[in-house]
């Protein structure tokens, strides 16, 4: 434990630096001292005279964005670790359980049926859609066979994803105009621009809660890596633990998807990369993945805002642009291994 201390300090420092970078860099050019003055005014009432629009941009737009990006990145990466361990499948990631497809359907339904005026936002629709898809996948997996067969869950997830993706496509072709489809696409590819402080208070606790639950079960996760049977032989309540951890992953993902849309690849790439670097032990892999996911998504968001001046690229596009080549590298480097 003593050895972990400097690492933890280093990790926190890295996270702080990333959040600061995310706050300092944005669509418009604000001088670093303005950013500092705004933060100082809010954190220790420094009382610098700052333009109120600049102050609002730094404190309410950029800082919240960086914090939510960190929480989402950490949450999605944690979910990736859980699912890859439980399902013993290197391709498992949060969206495998049909969550993102369900979220899309929910959001599109809200958008197209004009439920928007009835207090249900697209993000509310996304949350309900994600949970509905997850329940469907669970029921399907259960009906398909005994729970210790992880292939059932993956196959059920694929079936659920396909079904909801098809539903979304049907809805869009049936009733959306070109302009509508564009609005939906904008949302589906992931977007952090609508984030304000209330989103921070949703995303941060959920990410921390997910991480805590997983750390609590880190030994069980280690055992599951060798299969449900060996986990059972170690005295772990297989069914209960599986259900708890998968539900936890579903909840975290659904909350994140409902705040920022479907941001892919974080949950897939980060755990793999860190497993290669740190080995399979979950007591290290879990916090490292959470940190890696946080840093990755903050960086991706900064890139999405600055890559093309005056225009924001959907953050999901950036994560996939970086994620896909990294994933390919991992595949190649694993060549020859079982």
């Amino acid at each position: 434990m003593m050895k972990a201390l400097p690492y933890s300090a280093l990790a926190l420092l890295a996270l702080l630096a990333a959040v600061l970078a995310g706050t300092a860099i944005g669509e418009t050019n604000l001088p670093p001292q303005v950013v500092y003055q705004v933060l100082a005014n809010h954190l220790w009432q420094a009382g610098y005279p700052v333009d109120p629009i600049d102050a609002g941009i730094v404190w309410n737009y950029r800082l919240t964005r960086a914090l939510v990006a960190a929480a989402c990145g950490a949450g999605l990466a944690t979910c990736g670790v859980i699912l890859q361990a439980l399902l013993r499948n290197p391709l498992a990631e949060p969206y495998l359980l049909g969550l993102s497809a369900g979220a899309s359907t929910g959001a599109v339904l809200v958008g197209l049926l004009g439920l928007g005026s009835v207090a249900l936002s697209m993000s509310g629709g996304a949350f309900i859609g994600a949970l509905a898809a997850f329940l469907l996948v669970l029921v399907l997996a259960r009906a398909a066979g005994p729970s210790n067969n992880h292939a059932q869950v993956i196959l059920a997830g694929i079936a659920g994803s396909q079904l909801f993706t098809a539903l979304t496509a049907l809805l869009i072709t049936k009733s959306a105009t070109a302009e509508q489809a564009r609005g939906i696409l904008f949302w589906l590819l992931g977007n952090l621009s609508g984030v304000r402080w209330p989103s921070v208070w949703q995303a941060l606790p959920v990410a921390l809660f997910g991480l805590a639950v997983c750390l609590w079960h880190r030994r069980a996760l280690d055992a599951f890596t060798f299969g449900a049977d060996s986990a059972a032989s170690l005295g772990i309540a297989v069914r209960r633990t599986q259900l708890l951890l998968i539900s936890c992953a579903a909840l975290v993902t659904a909350v994140m998807v409902s705040i920022v849309g479907a941001i892919g690849f974080v949950g897939l790439v980060i755990p793999h990369a860190l497993r290669l670097l740190l080995g399979p032990s979950h007591s290290r892999l879990l916090p490292a993945s959470a940190l890696g996911g946080a840093l990755f998504l903050i960086a991706a968001d900064v890139l999405s805002r600055t890559l093309i001046g005056g225009q924001v690229i959907p953050v999901g596009v950036v994560t996939a642009l970086i994620g896909a080549p990294v994933f390919a590298l991992i595949l190649v480097s694993r060549r020859g291994r079982p």
Partner: protein
Amino acid sequence: MLPRIATLLAGLSLTGLAQAAATLYPLTVDNCGAPQTFAQAPERAVTIGQAGTEMLYALGLGDKLVGSSLWFNNVLPEFQALNAKVPRLADNEPSFEAVVGKRPQLVAVQFEWMVGAQGAVATREQFSELNIATYLLPSDCEGKDNLVGADGTRLQAFQVDSIYKSISQLAEIFDVQDRGTALNADLKGRLDSAKKQLAGKDLSNTSALFWFSSADLGIDPYVAGRQGVADFMLRTLGVRNVVESTEEWPTVGWETLAKANPTWLIIARMDRRRYPADDYRKKLEFLRHDPVTKQMDAVRNNRIIILDADAMQAGIRLFRGLQTLSAAFASGEAAP
């Protein structure tokens, strides 16, 4: 407006000034690169798009209309009675068969993405194979590439002449040229009066932002870019658009918009309720409560103009919109 035009017409025909020649058939009109030939004035027409529908009403051709479609808002109040007699084929795009089933001799189309090379309803060839003429409003094809970008991309700035042109061409096709001349005179008069209202006023430091809607409140909104109809309105009145993108309706982040800090905010009012931000009251609420936008000069000084979404499109409503804007710019305050 109709009664006004009627009196205008009466006055003009008395003096004989606007006594335009009767149309000679067969008439060939070059329209968006596809010449259309008319053996006689169409007796049955279908419209796709509200701008064309209201143009035909304003030309007194409501009795020739056998179907309308693609509505954004309620019809102008003065055309309500006329419109009640015309079957509405669809609120959005009609199917090809619904249009053809009305046996029209002319289909008037507002947007090329409805009828065009990648038309959602059909291509122009599909109609011409059935001997049905199509007329695309020139405002959506001249100087605009509709195969690039979601709402098309303007290669040149929108020209108001394209509206006058569509009115005189439609008037020629239907052999009501004097009505077309009178309608164009009325619209030009509105444009001139809007400009005149601001004569002598220094607007060199005045800027504005058009906010159409947002996919979700708080995320990057759809705003008017350069070269489109909304931008034309500002240019005509001598006010600068703070958005620099040349896309028709780009999405731009609130950080950029707040920093640009326009003198005026112009927000769209529409009956559509697809996104929460379609409701102009939701837009106002957002502007006044978001921690950053509430600090914008236009919000603090209540310089927010609520404008009909249709006034930002290439149709006859554009001219009333110009008058609304100039009245606000002239008084320095937004009308309640």
